[in-house]
């Protein structure tokens, strides 16, 4: 009897968490998917209307802008963060002086919430307060830097702020990866007469593949979930030019009394996350078996 209990104990202990996970995560996901097929407006109403909300969603120019922005933002955010993070890591790995202090400086933005980052950059990029005014005060009176208030460029200000916040974190991931590489390999390459660039390009970077993969998964999550940064930096504006899907979903589900459309947009976002997550999990699970 005692033996039996002992065997079951781990399962018993895990059960509450598992139940909470199932109800609060998967239960609500199912609920949202269900809602997206109903004609719910202000409150959930279970009158099923098929794909009507999805048709409405994709007929909405604001949603199309939000989707376009998501591609632009995700692509630039990941590529630039990876590049800057990798460069910083490589430079720090070359035994620079005061490495500890520099590392802390680059990592610091990570400790700040996106709301603070957004507000600070809002001031920095505001033509009447920030960079434009500063440069003009220095004597260059024709200088213009108005991305924040330009409908076509506003999304790039969000990329700037997000990259500023996250590249330190990417640096830390790469730095950990670089430290894990056996010195003998590099020495062997040097003995063979390979230049530093060649060593990095052909030996070190290929060995960092898992780090690249991990960083991309983490960064793309941040990108798809981005809500607070947009809200604080541009408020989705000018107009709705810098809306991301999460902002769209919040506005429609909670402010506009169009819960069905909101739910449909949430389901599309979920599909986006799954598209990244499923291949990742698949490769992870497969490598575990080996």
């Amino acid at each position: 009897m005692f033996k039996y209990l002992e065997n079951q104990l781990p399962k018993l202990v895990m059960a509450p968490t598992a139940i909470a996970m199932f109800v609060c995560m998967y239960g609500f996901i199912a609920w949202t998917v269900g809602l997206s097929f109903t004609k719910s407006r202000m409150m959930p109403q279970w009158d099923f209307v098929g794909l009507m909300q999805y048709e409405k969603l994709f007929a909405n120019p604001r949603w199309m802008v939000a989707l376009d922005n998501l591609w632009i933002f995700t692509f630039l955010f990941i590529v630039i963060s990876l590049f800057i993070g990798l460069m910083l890591a490589i430079f720090l790995d070359r035994n620079v002086r005061a490495e500890g202090a520099l590392r802390t400086i680059y990592l610091y933005p990570m400790a700040i919430s996106f709301v603070v980052t957004g507000t600070a950059w809002k001031w920095i990029l505001n033509p009447g307060l920030g960079i434009e005014k500063l440069v003009r005060d220095l004597g260059f009176t024709d200088f213009e830097f108005r991305w924040l208030v330009d409908q076509d460029m506003a999304i790039y200000t969000i990329v700037i702020a997000a990259v500023w916040q996250s590249s330190g974190f990417v640096m830390a991931m790469f730095l950990a990866g670089l430290r894990g590489i056996d010195d003998n390999l590099i020495k062997a390459a040097q003995i063979d007469g390979a230049s530093t660039t060649r060593t990095y390009w052909h030996i070190i970077l290929p060995m960092m593949k898992p780090v690249f993969f991990g960083a991309i998964v983490v960064l793309s999550h941040i990108a798809i979930k981005s809500f607070d940064l947009v809200q604080a930096l541009t408020g989705g504006g000018p107009g709705y030019a810098s809306d991301l899907p999460a902002n769209f979903m919040y506005t429609f589900a909670f402010n506009r009394a169009q819960m069905g459309v909101g739910a449909a947009s949430a389901v599309i976002m979920l599909c986006g996350v799954l598209a990244i997550l499923v291949p990742y999990l698949y490769s992870e699970l497969r490598s575990d078996k080996q």
């Binding site: 409150m43 007929a59 208030v149 107009g239 709705y240 009394a257």
Partner: protein, 415 residues
């Protein structure tokens, strides 16, 4: 048997206990800033004097968006507050869902049908019965101007949109910001609304933006409206995106900008800055809208209560809201005019007098229209669609034809 008795006793006690603390109202609102909070305090004291307790349920956030989210979750969980700040067509939506309480007997006793103008009482009724009480009437189509700036620039305060472009150019040439504006969707929509009314007139406004009539929306007037609206882009400054409305008002106050188009709540900002109407600032109807009045009525809707005590407290509150004292105190603080007709107007200032006259006059000529920018005219879905198009157009360089086309498509999709 003994056990059953005790259960019965407990059940009775539970049924009775709410009655002892019954005469209390729980009120959800978002009036948390200076003058507004003082008005709410007044209502609270008035009810306390009548033996009705007040439990404040304030959720901050200017437009009440977070308050609405809280309200929805409370209502769904079967525990709605006694009353909540809800207005316009939303009252009908809540009524359709069966959440609202019938307070018709209070209204009949106090003769609300005679006290309130027809357009206001219609909004307060669901299926012919009163379910909400109005606290004020805001006029949205105001133009606030700084006369000093105008005289420095040699300009005159415009009364038509054509004249507006001429005068605004003068202000701009003299180095002022002609139109103080905050680039937030609702502010874009507020200006858009004034243009619609000024260019299209009240009939067009009513057909296109209240009834959603496709023929009116597809007419050449819509393109004309977008043309005028688009011309305004050049008269605002580059820093406007994201600016709050009161910051824009302070630009007019301190002589940085010449004009602002904003509802009468802007008056509070001038008052706080110690400015006098007529000399330091001027309030006139937005260009081309002097005979019209876009109204924005704040109101409290009442939620069905399961116990009788709470329902009684609710009725006392409804009665107090329409009282002469509350209507006066509240509206003096808020800058609006009383929803109740025929009140003594000595305490109000000249802008409020103008507003009251225009309210009565326009109700006879058909110039009295609900504000779509402030959720009075159409459902949240349609007003959201108008917001999106207006703000997108105003911030882009799209042509008037494109703007009109987008508007028609967006309204059609949201209906």
């Amino acid at each position: 048997m003994k056990f059953k008795l005790s259960v019965l006793a407990a059940a009775t006690a539970m049924a009775i206990s709410p009655v002892s603390q019954a005469s209390e109202v729980e009120v959800l609102h978002w009036w948390t800033s200076g003058g507004e909070a003082a008005s709410v305090q007044f209502l609270k004291e008035k009810l306390n004097n009548e033996g009705v307790g007040w439990s404040d349920f304030a959720v901050a956030g200017g437009g009440g968006e977070s308050a609405m989210t809280v309200l929805k979750s409370r209502a769904i969980s079967g525990n709605p507050p006694t009353a909540a700040q809800i207005k316009g067509p939303s009252i009908q939506e809540w009524g359709d869902l069966g959440f609202l309480a019938d307070i018709n007997d209070v209204a009949t006793n106090a003769g609300w049908d005679d006290l309130l103008p027809g357009v206001v009482s219609d909004v307060m009724k669901h299926e012919g019965k009163y379910v909400a009480a109005p606290v004020n009437v805001h006029r949205v189509n105001w133009l606030w101007a700084n006369p000093e700036v105008f005289s420095k620039a040699g300009a005159t305060i415009p009364t038509t949109w054509d004249d507006f472009m001429v005068q605004a150019q003068k202000l701009k040439d003299a180095g002022f910001v002609a139109l103080a504006h905050g680039g937030q969707a609702w502010q874009d929509a507020t200006v858009f609304e004034a243009v619609v009314l000024g260019v299209g007139g009240a009939d067009y406004y009513q057909k296109a933006f209240v009834e959603g009539d496709m023929d009116a929306l597809n007419s050449a007037t819509t393109v004309e409206v977008f043309e005028t609206f688009g011309q305004l882009r050049q008269f605002i400054d580059a820093n406007s995106p994201g600016r709050d409305w009161n910051v824009a008002t302070s630009m007019v106050i301190n002589g940085e900008a010449g004009m602002q188009i904003m509802g009468d709540w802007a008056k509070g900002e001038f008052k706080v800055a110690g400015k006098n109407s007529g000399t330091d600032y001027v309030c006139v109807a937005a260009p081309g809208t002097s005979g019209s009045f876009t109204f924005n009525v704040d109101s409290f809707a009442f939620f069905s209560q399961s116990d009788a005590g709470k329902a009684d407290a609710q009725k006392a509150m409804a009665d107090a809201i329409l009282s002469v004292e509350f209507q006066e105190v509240f509206n003096l603080n808020k800058g609006s005019i009383p929803a109740r007709l025929g009140m003594d107007r000595a305490a109000f200032d000249s802008c409020a007098h103008d507003s009251m006259d225009a309210f009565v006059a326009s109700s006879q000529t058909g110039g009295l229209v609900p504000s779509f920018a402030h959720g009075m005219a159409v459902s949240e879905a349609v007003s959201g669609a108008i917001y999106d198009t207006a703000t997108n157009y105003f911030n882009s360089s799209d042509s008037a034809e494109e703007g009109a086309k987008q508007l028609v498509a967006a309204i059609a999709a949201a209906q």
